[in-house]
Assembly symmetry: C2
Homo-oligomer: 446 residues x 2
């Protein structure tokens, strides 16, 4: 949105380009590679993760190029040599990507995204892929816990002011993927077709000579269906005036401070006594999934969530990594590779991912290592496949993944996949992942 | 960078525009207002906050406009009426802004930014101002604790992959404001002139048939001054090969896993024994300010910090708010205003901010309420003024605040301001703000 210097290809760590430079010089840049994106563990005792950001990634991937000024800058800075600079002028991603559909749930080891291409193609995607998926999946995972705790009551995303202005748009989108009904963020509304909400802040009341004047003005401009903010001075007095001015068709009142459960109960009783039984009570003010759950018994009709949503409710990044799991060797054969670093070791080989089902209930994540003895090419019995083609030879082939369509489809996918999870998945307390991950590389004993 | 729909003016919560619509209709839109940005409290037992993002904000503010498509969309969505749509077509910020210089430290109540303008001008800045300052200040506050704990050893920002791709650029910038030496993020290097670093990841070693081939290739491309990553397989063997191949002028080795303190000690001894006494030892891998502090006694020459930096080390948002503190009344006089919401009450009136000094040591934050009995127009004795003019009648008047200059100046400001703080400011454990905030509104008793 802001006219910034540089193309999106510079959303990249310097070492991707220095590795490319060395690999172009030594001839390994053309080796075919497979990189996988996965989480070693879920953050913070979480039961499941939520894939989000895939649509945003595909929107950017299609146009990812280094422009001439980028290349000149990289060469002047000594990041790349002349050969690499020439290579970057013609660079685009021509490889293939498959992955979990956006909105799908995941557990540790799930290969959310599998990137196949030459080293030169695939290495340059690492930082951008991880930035998009780590941010958006972190927000979606928190959002899913909130919509789960809200148990059908609408959740409204209102956290833009608590995060980077562009991250705010992505956060609103990720929240919608995980079941939020609307956002306060206008850019997200415009770009992704997410319904927008918002009526007035305390500043509007303070701007006027008294609360009465502010309410009258808001009602005149927005009609009786609006939401009046009633906690600037005295809640009881404000609710009385709100109904007196708007009549019993007042859309909603909003509470943004104090003990929300107690206040909601009082306000509900007062509204009912005033005949405004259809007027809704919306609460905001530092809500997270625990506060939402604690309000289950209170007469609340909607939750506005800000800070804790856009910051992932204690887990602001999903901890996804992008790891080389297989590559061509000097003879042209593909070989699984893995590092042995303590605490960070990886499993060699690309994985085919399946969700083992018992009827409508998910029971395990099954990962079959490609080319291993376990890989007989057949479907895993009683399981649904998790990976879909996203990009083929550089062309986005997944339909309906970008823009507003992508958000709608991802939200539907999330709702369906979450419904398959065992009951413990909905528990908010710390615990183990709700599905075990089984990696199969040995031949089945039959 | 990405061709996104919509202008930066849409980085805004819907309610800013619905409030504007009502205020235009009732005549209060032209009332002169003063909004202040401040933190009610510091996050998480922190001792001080760091102002960051001011330069980024000014870069965007200068060009902030609604384009015709934005306006048409807002009207079609029913966010604004025809009158407001017309108003937005000509809207730009014509008010004035003053604030703490970027890099300055702050405590609860410090008015980091003061925005003066009509309600119509100033209300539309709220979301963007808070997004920029909340994100960047959160990262800078964490970064400042890290550079403080590193006590002169270089800190390198490497967290791009753990946060939104555009937030990553802002995070690299905020880290530089708080004393980080360099970043892995190329976009940040290009936009803000921050030095970039990075040589190779584990994938580069795995791409090659063996570690030897990878090291040879990297040395051929980057020279002996490069940093070799030595923990893909066996650290001791890798260090031996690294020195054998590069010679004693090898720039550095990087450790990215395991017990970093113990490993660094072993590797340092091994390097010295091999005659590579000038080869540096750089550590990465989930560092935060506590891990950095714990490595103070280890022979470490540089810290690469990722996740915890870009996520604010437990406090991913600074919790800054944008509050109306004064506005014109019907008679044309300015009046202080404040809300009474429990736990969220505000202090009426614009504040002039001073840092009370005892020689070179800061001792308190003094806020004088404008127009109060305490406001005699004279400087506070023994104090330095904290606010500088940033924007005057819509024009950016602060020189050297944007681009690379802005980062350099902010870093210098931060270093100087942090040096004035009492010793307890450098403690990492939870505690009280390192300076008391004194709000003066009553006349001094003389």
């Amino acid at each position: 949105m802001v006219a910034a210097v540089g193309s999106a290809a510079l959303y990249t760590d310097r070492y991707e380009l220095t590795m490319l430079t060395a690999a172009l010089a030594d001839g390994t840049a053309d080796r075919r590679c497979v990189f996988e994106v996965f989480a070693r563990r879920l953050p913070d005792g979480r039961r499941y993760g939520v894939v989000a950001g895939t649509g945003r990634l595909l929107e950017q991937l299609a146009d990812l190029r280094f422009d001439e000024d980028d290349v000149a800058w990289l060469q002047a800075e000594g990041v790349v040599d002349a050969r690499t600079a020439d290579h970057l002028r013609g660079w685009r991603f021509r490889g293939s990507v498959e992955g979990y559909p956006e909105g799908e749930v995941y557990v540790p080891g799930s290969p959310l995204l599998t990137v196949r291409g030459t080293f030169a193609e695939a290495v340059l995607l690492e930082t951008l892929v991880l930035s998009v998926l780590n941010h958006d999946s972190a927000v979606a995972a928190a959002a899913s816990r909130m919509t789960s705790a809200a148990d059908g009551r609408p959740c409204l995303e209102m956290g833009s002011r608590r995060t980077h202005e562009e991250a705010a748009v992505a956060a609103a989108r990720a929240a919608a993927v995980a079941g939020f009904s609307a956002t306060s963020n206008l850019a997200a509304g415009r770009r992704y077709g997410i319904p927008t909400v918002g009526t007035a802040a305390h500043a509007f009341t303070l701007l006027h000579d008294d609360e009465d004047a502010a309410f009258r003005s808001q009602l005149a401009a927005q009609g009786a269906g609006t939401t009046l903010l009633v906690d600037t001075y005295d809640v009881e007095a404000a609710v009385a005036r709100a109904v007196a001015l708007a009549g019993p068709d007042l859309g909603a009142v909003r509470l943004d401070s104090g003990d929300l459960g107690e206040l909601a109960t009082q306000v509900r009783a007062q509204l009912d006594a005033l005949g405004a039984s259809r007027t809704r009570v919306v609460v905001t003010s530092d809500l997270d999934e625990f506060a939402v759950a604690a309000l289950a018994a209170a007469p609340v009709d909607g939750y506005g969530v800000g800070t804790s949503l856009v910051t992932g409710s204690g887990a602001p990044t999903a901890g996804l990594v992008y790891k080389l799991v297989a590559r061509e060797d000097a003879s042209g054969a593909m070989r699984g590779v893995a590092k042995a670093s303590p605490g960070k070791s990886t499993v060699a080989g690309a994985k085919r991912a399946w969700r083992e089902m018992d009827g409508d209930a998910a029971v395990a994540e099954v990962l079959v290592v490609e080319g291993s003895a376990a890989d007989d090419g057949a479907p895993v019995p009683g399981a649904r496949p998790l990976q879909v083609p996203l990009v083929s030879d550089g062309v986005v082939v997944a339909g309906g993944t970008t823009g507003a369509d992508g958000v709608r489809r991802a939200a539907a996918r999330h709702e369906a996949s979450r419904a398959e999870l065992p009951a413990q998945a909905r528990r908010l307390g710390r615990g183990e992942p709700c599905l075990p991950t089984e990696v199969r590389s040995a031949a089945p004993s039959r």
